[in-house]
């Protein structure tokens, strides 16, 4: 076959001068890395989708699961995650402006926009930490198993617990003691362990106290797993909902209520949902964090004038590619975890 190559003249043959992609080695390798990383995320999201398709239980609904804002409490469906998305889009914009400034050899411009990008990145990572905190701790009502074996999530305003009044003394508390600290935590812990019965709470030291609690408002039960009577998706409101909820909560049986999500239990729906949520948003958050670190390193390089001396700011362009990729992944995570 050697005869063939001799027939190709030099103008057709790639003589090592011009690259077929007309781009530098570093940028090309960054693109290849991003393709492989995109395959990883693609695989994870497709696994999530296939699990969702294979599960018979009702899948959590984004606007019901994520509806809190910092300092303002519940009742704001999807607003927080929309804010997070906006922060990440804006930081992507500041990054592309840094790249543009680099193309004009405007060092001050690059520094300015990169600092803005890094601040946006920190905001996003912080927001994600808050989102996780909320997801792990769960709602004030929790997911409740009703008398017929069905499971329901609860909407509404949880009436504040004012205090516990000790009725039967234990190791630490005397009769008539009024406990005013750590109420919610004690209450939820007792509910999970089956230590709530007929309006009474059994505390850690063995004493029994009366729960003084304001009335709940606008309570609504949404059935997520069918029982003997209730069907998936049906809703129970008002007085009837309260009676059913408290019959279970004060039943004195353990595991009737679940608060929040971790790797063993999940208030919001099937267990796999929590696993995927932690893994995919965690893996993405890790990418954001490493992106911020890389951006800081490159920013230091820019400030030291390394790239200016080199004659081009391609390093900024390459980290920019990575940063935009992180934004790109979030666009998909946002759709498939929160919207669809």
């Amino acid at each position: 076959m050697a005869g063939h190559s001799a027939q190709v003249d030099n103008s057709t043959l790639w003589g090592g001068k011009e690259s077929p992609f007309q781009t530098s080695y570093g940028k090309l390798m960054m693109w290849f890395f991003l393709v492989s990383d995109a395959l990883t995320f693609g695989g994870l999201l497709i696994a999530y989708g296939s699990t969702r398709h294979a599960t018979l239980e009702a899948w959590p609904i984004g606007e019901e699961t994520f509806n809190s804002l910092p300092f303002l409490g519940h009742g704001y469906p999807l607003l927080y995650v929309a804010l997070m998305t906006f922060i990440l889009i804006v930081s992507s914009v500041t990054m592309v402006l840094a790249v543009e400034a680099g193309h004009r050899m405007d060092k001050n411009g690059v520094v300015k926009w990169m600092i803005a990008t890094i601040i946006g990145g920190f905001f996003f990572v912080g927001s994600q930490a808050w989102e996780w905190y909320h997801f792990i701790h769960g709602s004030e009502f929790g997911k409740i198993e009703l008398a017929d074996g069905s499971q329901a999530i609860v909407r509404g305003h949880f009436g504040e617990i004012q205090n516990f009044t000790v009725v039967t003394p234990g190791h630490h508390h005397k009769k008539g003691d009024v406990i005013k600290t750590d109420l919610m935590h004690e209450f939820q812990h007792a509910a999970e362990k089956g230590n709530l019965k007929d309006g009474m709470i059994k505390l850690h030291d063995g004493s029994i106290a009366k729960v003084n609690k304001a009335a709940d408002e606008h309570m609504e039960l949404i059935i997520k797993k069918k029982g003997k009577i209730n069907k998936v998706g049906s809703k129970i409101e008002g007085k009837k909902a309260e009676e059913m909820y408290y019959a279970s909560l004060y039943s004195g049986q353990n595991n009737r209520v679940i608060y929040g999500a971790n790797l063993e239990q999940n208030e919001y729906g099937p267990q796999q949902y929590a696993q995927f949520f932690f893994f995919i948003t965690g893996f993405h958050g890790f990418h954001v964090f490493s992106g911020v670190v890389i951006n800081i390193i490159i920013l230091i390089g820019v400030m030291m004038g390394i790239y200016h001396k080199r004659g081009h700011y391609e390093m900024v362009e390459k980290t920019g590619l990575y940063w935009h990729f992180v934004d790109l992944v979030w666009v998909f995570v946002f759709t498939f975890f929160y919207l669809v």
Binding site: G16, K17, E18, S19, P20, F21, Q22, T23, S24, G26, K27, W31, V35, G42, G43, I46, A47, G49, S50, T51, R52, H53, A54, T55, L56, I61, G62, E63, P77, L78, L79, A82, T85, F86, I89, V90, S92, V93, M95, V96, L97, V99, E100, H103, R104, G311, H312, E314, E317, G320, L321, H324, D327, L328, V331, F332, F334, T335, L339, V340
Partner: protein, 122 residues
């Protein structure tokens, strides 16, 4: 030894202030577009219930809007639209072939699993 036959592609991105103005204008336009799409998505997600009749349509419009956003991020922010066609193709075509295949096979399989579970449940 310095080689004078090597092309420094890293310098190709350079442009002057005049072109920069145009590029920045495009960047802000895309920003506004991405923000607007996100706002529409959130409003639809918050106000249209999954139990409503138009939900399947809403779901598909989410996916289309997402692909739209992704396209703008890749083509404008990541400058893939400005690269050579061969580079663009070698990145996008293999990826799409593989991912579409994976989506097809994973979801098809998952539906079969859910059918089997449903049969077992009764």
């Amino acid at each position: 030894m310095e080689r004078d036959d090597v092309i420094e592609y890293s310098l190709h991105g350079h442009h002057d202030e005049e072109q920069g103005k145009k590029i920045r204008k495009k960047i802000w336009f895309v920003t506004a577009l991405l923000t607007a799409i996100t706002v529409v998505e959130v409003l639809m997600g918050a106000y249209i219930k999954q139990s409503s009749d138009i939900w399947p349509m809403v779901k598909w419009s989410f996916i289309i809007m997402t692909l739209f956003k992704a396209g703008y991020i890749v083509m404008v922010f990541m400058h893939l639209g400005d690269e050579k066609k061969t580079l663009r193709n070698i990145i996008l075509i293999p990826y799409f072939i593989f991912v579409l295949y994976l989506i097809f096979i994973a979801l098809w399989e998952a539906l079969a699993v859910s059918d089997a579970l449903q049969l077992n449940a009764f």
